[in-house]
Amino acid sequence: NIMERQREGLDPFYRVVALTDTTVDPAVWGQNFPLQYDLYRRTVDMTRTRYGGSEALPRRPTGEDPRDTVSVSRLDEDPRLREFWAGYAFVEDFREERGHAYMLSDQVFTRRQVVAQQPGTCLNCHASTYVAYLRAGNGDLMEGFARVNQMPYQEAVRLVDHPVACIDCHDPETMRLRVTRPAFMEGIRALKAGQGVEDYDVNRDATRQEMRTYVCGQCHVEYYFAGTEKRLTYPWDRGLTADSILAYYEANGHNDWTHQVSGGGVLKAQHPEFEMFNQGIHARSGVACADCHMPYIRQGAMKVSDHWVRSPLLNVSNACQTCHPWDEAELTARVHTIQDRTYQLRNLAIDASLALARAINAAAQADAGNPRLEAARRHHRRAQFLADFVEAENSMGFHADQEAARVLGLSLNEARLGHLALFGDLVQATASALPAPPQAVTPPPRNGTR
């Protein structure tokens, strides 16, 4: 009787094979959990939405890149991005991201690998690395992580075989969610410490509902490689907002590259979904990534989590309608309203950042010793990072609508200040301070899991 099984804590899946902490292959897990496995494999499917999803562009496989489809080039879609990232590997190849099934091959074959030597660190988020880390560390996860980070990418990639797999999110015995990525364990620990919570251990202290977000936060985050050990680091000591992260980088002086137009050191923001989402009303209401991106779906007599992780706009009825009693067209229109507003400001902010870079470039050409250049570059670095933070975040503002607009407003303001620093006799030539963020990360309320 099913009620009894439930009360005994048993689940309704029949264990065909034994899973251990070294079973990487998802096909093996799939023998026990065929419903989830079948859904998981569907992440190869590609469909475009207004700002997300992805579209399959056929290509002719070559010896050095055997992929027969790629997704659209964001650089061709918006050629301004070539100037926006001038001097960085991203101008070589940057595409709309697609389903999890592609993560490993897309990383291996991006032209960003050709123009730059990448470290093993990259793998953390593009492969099933849990067992690889364990092995490289002789059973010690943190040790293995440190070792793989320091390998050249080409060597490290030989340690892995699969894109993110069951074992990266699940405990093989209980199937409970768990965090397997050291960088997230350290990042969230630093974040909590900044909020006054000592000694936070995510796998011990998080609620089940939080884990439904944290497993995604292992990868969908802003990061950098710290020091010569290339240690993967999430810059969260001061909080998760774009301006807190910028303040972190201002304090430690990190630069990703030197901007070819402005001539100043700048930062690249990368997929800060977790950070941005945490500023939004859904996070505040205790909603988790999995609620929208892996909603329950009825399969036969059972509801299971939809392991076909994708844009919720491809699945509005399951992803949104249980919580919001509006029809699909209306819910999609609400998302588009938010995204269109964000897109308008994003475009203005990119233009503003470019205009400033060009003005700095001209001023430097005219007089490389111009004392105003330093302040102007400081403002440019900020304007660039703040605009890029929203550009890189993949929901086009939906995850935190007002916050995305605020960050773009800050970016526009920094671009303005950069011009003031550069031109005009009236204004001071030193960079003014970064405005203090209006509030820290929004912690979900106590009764957050309702």
Binding site: I2, M3, R5, Q6, R7, G9, L10, D11, P12, F13, L35, T174, M175, R176, R204, D205, A206, T207, R208, Q209, E210, G286, D291, Y296, R298, A301, M302, K303, V304, S305, T322, C323, P325, R446, N447, G448, T449, R450
Partner: protein, 163 residues
């Protein structure tokens, strides 16, 4: 300084009054409706009318009455909850001392959460697996925060079309 036994006396008098009024209201306001399963009986109290109306519009009006969701599905629990809610709600109704709008209390929400699971055990078996106590989470943090995978977090409108 008031001698302590006076306070005690006062307490007893107040308790007596409370029971008295409660019982009176319980009778007059058809408090016995708590003991039946007829949803219209709940709406005997006009403060329950809006909840009744929003239940009528909900997907469950054809399949579940108030007591299916608001009382436990074992006999003892059922009548204990009915008696306790019946008494306290009657009391509150008479004194007028209750929040506006009325908000479900934690223990009563736990009752509804269990009710969902009782009727829908089959379909939710996969997602509630591993929870020893129905409606309770796995970690101590879950206990503090509420329920893991609370049904009404997503199914906000099943019992009442609007809150």
């Amino acid at each position: 300084m008031r001698p302590p036994h006076l306070g005690l006396l006062l307490f007893c008098v107040l308790l007596g009054l409370a029971v008295g009024t409660g019982v009176f209201t319980f009778g007059y306001a058809k408090g016995a409706s708590y003991l039946t399963n007829d949803p219209a009986a709940c709406a005997n109290c006009h403060v329950m009318e809006a909840h009744f109306a929003s239940w009528v519009k909900s997907s469950h009006s054809a399949v579940a009455v108030c007591n299916d969701c608001h009382t436990p599905h074992d006999l003892v629990g059922k009548y204990l909850t009915k008696a306790s809610n019946g008494f306290w709600h009657s009391f509150a109704f008479t004194t007028g001392d209750f929040p506006d709008p009325i908000r479900i209390k934690d223990h009563n929400r736990a009752v509804t959460e269990e009710a969902c699971r009782y009727c829908h055990a089959d379909v939710t078996a996969a997602i509630t697996a591993g929870s020893h106590l129905v409606g309770t989470g796995e970690t101590s943090a879950d206990e503090a925060e509420g329920w893991a995978v609370a049904c009404t977090r997503c199914h906000r409108t099943v019992g009442h079309w609007v809150r």
